[in-house]
Amino acid sequence: MLNYLSNPQRFMGFSAWAAPLFAVLATLLFAIGLPWALVFSPPDYQMGDTVRIMYLHVPAASLSLGIYAFMGIASFVSLVWRHVLADVAARAAAPIGATFAGICLVTGSFWGAPTWGTWWEWDGRLTSMLVLFIIYLGYIALWSAIEEEDRAARLAAILCLVGVINLPIVKFSVDWWSTLHQPASIMRSGGTSIDDSMIGPLATMAGAYAALFATLTLYGMRAAIFRRRVEAAELRNAA
């Protein structure tokens, strides 16, 4: 299927109906997931209602990592096959990944405030997420800093792959560091343990985030391809 879509024309045809479809799916999933998570799911026996923030926090965290992996694959394709769609995909996905990482950090802060009594705590997982957030910012800044788009795409791809290799090292280092300094951490996956009743809203929210990513990335890619077509036409007219 990827091979089929690798033709930009066919991709535009595919995304013309796929993007609105994902948009509808995302809206639906958020419409179900948000009330379920924030109002109707049971409160945690330890943390009470603050556990509801987890439903926003955990999917954002997983997705932001997943999006970076997506960008890594797109970057690899970009370097090996020099394909425009790969460049466009990686660039479109980055701001979304960065935003999800930002959501993870902010919700993590809100979640921690009642628990820790402070608005920020250098918890191992939050710290790793902060590093990922900055890696995203660097990637996005690089695209803007280099004028020739082809070169920017390739250099950004190298940067993304370097990040992919370094992320496990950073995660390992931060975990090592946090065990060394042993801060009080309640942020284990899903709070205390994931009860069956939590899986439903969690999965729905995860699906909602994923559909939102697909929607925004597809629309972003379409916008980029339209822009390139306009620029190519202008170049032809000027010549």
């Binding site: 900055i134 660097g138 800044a141 800093a145 070169r151 190298i158 931060v174 060394l180």
Partner: protein, 216 residues
């Protein structure tokens, strides 16, 4: 004489000439000096928290030198010649990295001794701190090479290279600071050595790939 040694000698001479190492050293000491200015001079506080901060100063100082590493080569046409050399570009980049480590990284590591003492590190810990800084510099340079190569064409790319490279400085800083605080020194030094070797093995490969793109 082969391509590696002529590149090493030329880059070392260029970095070292005209007191070339003095500016990064000055930056390093200046940044170190800011620590007690920010934290207060109280000895106990500094002794508890100060020594690891020498790593922040070291990271900033080496970052300043990384920015210029490839920019001149790209602008004056030297990169074109390196691409035609007998030796692969990766090897030449490694030579430049070694020159940077010898000319600036190692002096910065040695300067870590007085800096750590100024930040109230116990004297018996200083040799380990210097060793960790020497390894950390190699790790910084290894990953910094890639950032420098990627941003080589960008005008005033100093802030950009910092943004790109600082997240990857985190592992050496974490392990180096552990040595500076005296915790788990043996393990931390081993891991730092791993970071240094990994950085110097993989960094030139990615940097050379980026430089070939810059030459287009």
């Amino acid at each position: 004489m082969n391509a590696f040694s002529v590149t090493f000698r030329r880059d070392f001479a260029m970095m070292w000439s005209g007191g070339g190492a003095l500016a990064p050293l000055g930056y390093f000491f200046g940044a170190t000096m800011l620590v007690p200015l920010a934290m207060g001079p109280e000895r106990d506080l500094l002794a508890a928290a100060g020594p690891p901060l020498v790593w922040i100063a070291a990271a900033l100082a080496v970052l300043a030198t990384l920015e210029r590493l490839f920019q001149a080569d790209l602008e004056d046409g030297s990169l074109d010649q390196m691409l035609l050399s007998r030796a692969p570009l990766e090897w030449i980049v490694l030579a430049k990295a070694c020159a940077l480590w010898c000319a600036i990284g190692l002096p910065l590591a040695l300067a870590g001794a007085p800096a750590a003492i100024a930040l109230q590190a116990p004297v018996e810990r200083v040799p380990a701190i210097v060793a960790s800084l020497a390894l950390g510099m190699a790790a910084f340079i290894g990953v910094g090479l890639v950032g420098a190569a990627i941003t080589a064409g960008v005008k005033r790319g100093g802030v950009l290279i910092a943004l790109i490279v600082l997240p990857f400085f985190a592992p050496p800083i974490i392990f180096g600071s552990a040595v500076a605080s005296g915790e788990d020194v043996g393990a931390a030094l081993l891991i730092l050595a791993g970071c240094a070797l990994g950085g110097l093995a993989l960094g030139p490969i990615a940097a050379a790939a980026a430089l070939r793109l810059q030459a287009e």
